[in-house]
Symmetry: C2
């Protein structure tokens, strides 16, 4: 498991890519770690008002380079992009090197590891800065269904596809549960989740024999809370990533599942862009496969309606809720009290 130092003055690196979709990691961190972010490094957008680009952002400055952000006294630079393939583009590497040179730690969620870059290692050694590669796998553990024995109840977000909002839904549900006085934890299974929670594991970077075990260890680490909301991965019907999905299911042994769907999406975003399965068939597959280790019911649907017109979003939410006969809502737009009610009802034993 990765545990980050308690950074409180974070710079986000997006060089040339700042945007809701083009720097998804930064956009999400600007919402969920707003209080800990002091600025963004992106020469393309330097000195622009960040709220024109990321509407929900706090009013932090956009700097052209790490040196010009020195007055912000940053304690870490977080790589704020997540491109397909997971490589570090050269124009971002320049800023990473500059940060390390002046002793600023760098947190990186890309598949490409900073620790494999000899020059950066040398610079970090020289300044004493740390490099944290969040996709470095934990030591291997074989899953054994131990999560089902925790004191805490477990809710897992599962998706109809990648990039639909499973992490955001889990974060919002945990926050809503805490507002109700519950001792609730968000459990991060991906690199952006780790940047938000400060701890977690990137399940997709774990060797498949040990992926469920990695998620299980993570749930055991919050065993004594009241309820944990585990970030799911991929989709059980995704031709490439379903293995990671099942590792989160059998690793976390959830009591309840919350299905997350991007309103209006009819086909997988990845090639070959096959049609998504009918939602009832997907629900049945999730429940039946979970039950082979530990039974879980699908108790709610979180609809991601970002960019969808209000009328259409409402119609889609009503339609899907009726189709699966569970509460449905957009946790970002509508809040997630209704989803939380359903989840807490679903985890009663």
């Amino acid at each position: 498991m990765h545990t980050l130092p308690p950074y409180r003055r974070i710079l986000l690196l997006t060089e040339g890519r700042l945007g809701v979709f083009t720097s998804k990691t930064a956009a999400v961190l600007l919402r969920y770690r707003a209080a800990d972010i002091v600025g963004v490094v992106d020469s393309t957008y330097a000195r622009r008002d960040i709220r024109e680009i990321i509407p929900w952002s706090p009013p932090v400055p956009i700097c052209a380079e790490v040196r010009s952000a020195a007055a912000l006294r940053p304690d870490a630079l977080f790589v704020g992009i997540a491109p397909s393939g997971g490589a570090l583009p050269p124009e971002l590497r320049t800023h990473v090197k500059a940060a390390l040179e002046v002793g600023i730690d760098v947190v990186n969620g890309l598949h490409q590891r900073l620790a494999d870059d000899e020059e950066l290692c040398g610079v970090a050694r020289g300044s004493g800065a740390k490099m944290l590669d969040l996709r470095t796998p934990p030591s291997p553990v074989v899953g054994a269904g131990r999560a089902q024995q925790t004191r805490c109840r477990r809710v897992l977000t599962v998706g109809t596809d990648c990039n639909v909002g499973k992490m955001v839904t889990a974060v919002e549900l945990a926050a809503a549960a805490r507002r109700r006085g519950l001792n609730a934890e968000f459990v991060a299974t991906g690199q952006t989740g780790i940047m938000i929670a400060g701890r977690g594991v990137a399940a997709d970077a774990v060797v498949s024999d040990f992926a469920a075990g990695a998620v299980e260890e993570l749930v055991l680490s919050v065993a004594d809370c009241d309820v944990c909301f585990v970030e799911g991965q991929g989709s059980l019907g995704h031709a490439g990533f379903s293995a990671v999905t099942l590792a989160t299911i059998h690793g976390a042994c959830p009591d309840a599942l919350v299905l997350v769907h991007h309103a209006g999406r009819t086909h997988y975003r990845n090639p070959p862009h096959n049609p998504l399965p009918p939602l009832p068939a997907l629900r049945d597959a999730y429940e039946q496969t979970a039950a082979l280790v530990y039974p879980a019911r699908l108790v709610a649907v979180a609809l991601n309606t970002y960019g969808v017109e209000r009328d259409l979003a409402d119609a889609e939410t009503a339609r899907i809720g009726a189709e699966l006969r569970v509460p449905a809502a957009d946790p970002w737009r509508d809040g997630c009290e209704a989803l939380l009610d359903a989840a807490l009802e679903g985890i009663r034993r």
Copy 2:
């Protein structure tokens, strides 16, 4: 994908562990590569008649050390054990080093890689011997369901647990299909399978994001045969290894599934030794989960009755066949004509 050189004079290394269960890899190779094996290295059993220990073995000598096997003119030493954890015991490493010193290639299926051992690397460089670590993952590819577009039909063996006979069943089915004149391939997804087929990939050692992609690439490499029999991994209900299982399903896009079960086994062999799920529930979960990418029916059950008394084995075979309403047989004891009939019927489109 790993492709082995065409070794024809193989030594098997089992040091202190020769036995049907204690050196499973060697035992299986003595059946399926009988014509290519010239001897076994195991000082504990040296000069014993190997057929007292492995009943189906060809009458090859057991030697105390690699040097005393020189007259057999071996071209490779295969590590013939697969201990839990996957480490290379020191007493086996001694023989590995001795083989490398005299220029004999070493093929290793353990998680622990010979290439990470600096001393062995030095010895191999000196003699020109090669070290082949079969658990080294292939270059990363994201699965995209492309196996469903191959000319060949695809049959996947799936299990009720680990160590039930999925690999043996796939090997036997492919051999039976070839005897009927079909251009049939066995597709190896584990290290022992690779040692038999001479090519394949160890799916359990691939990072979970890329495990389905690795199996998909493998199936595409035999796209033009008539029918391929893909070795499954783990079980969809296994708390630790289900992710690997699903990677083989969505990677191979099988037309038909053959369920493999160890007669009389009621609980998982791994901790916490939970009861196996009811077979109809397991079948439904396999079929529903497969269908999210490509539909497959479970068409037969291969019963592993090794060590079970004949009467009990027959009763169990009849009972399970009736329960799932498909042909059931032990491919090792009964041959697999009935299973092959069911598989070939099942893959008709």
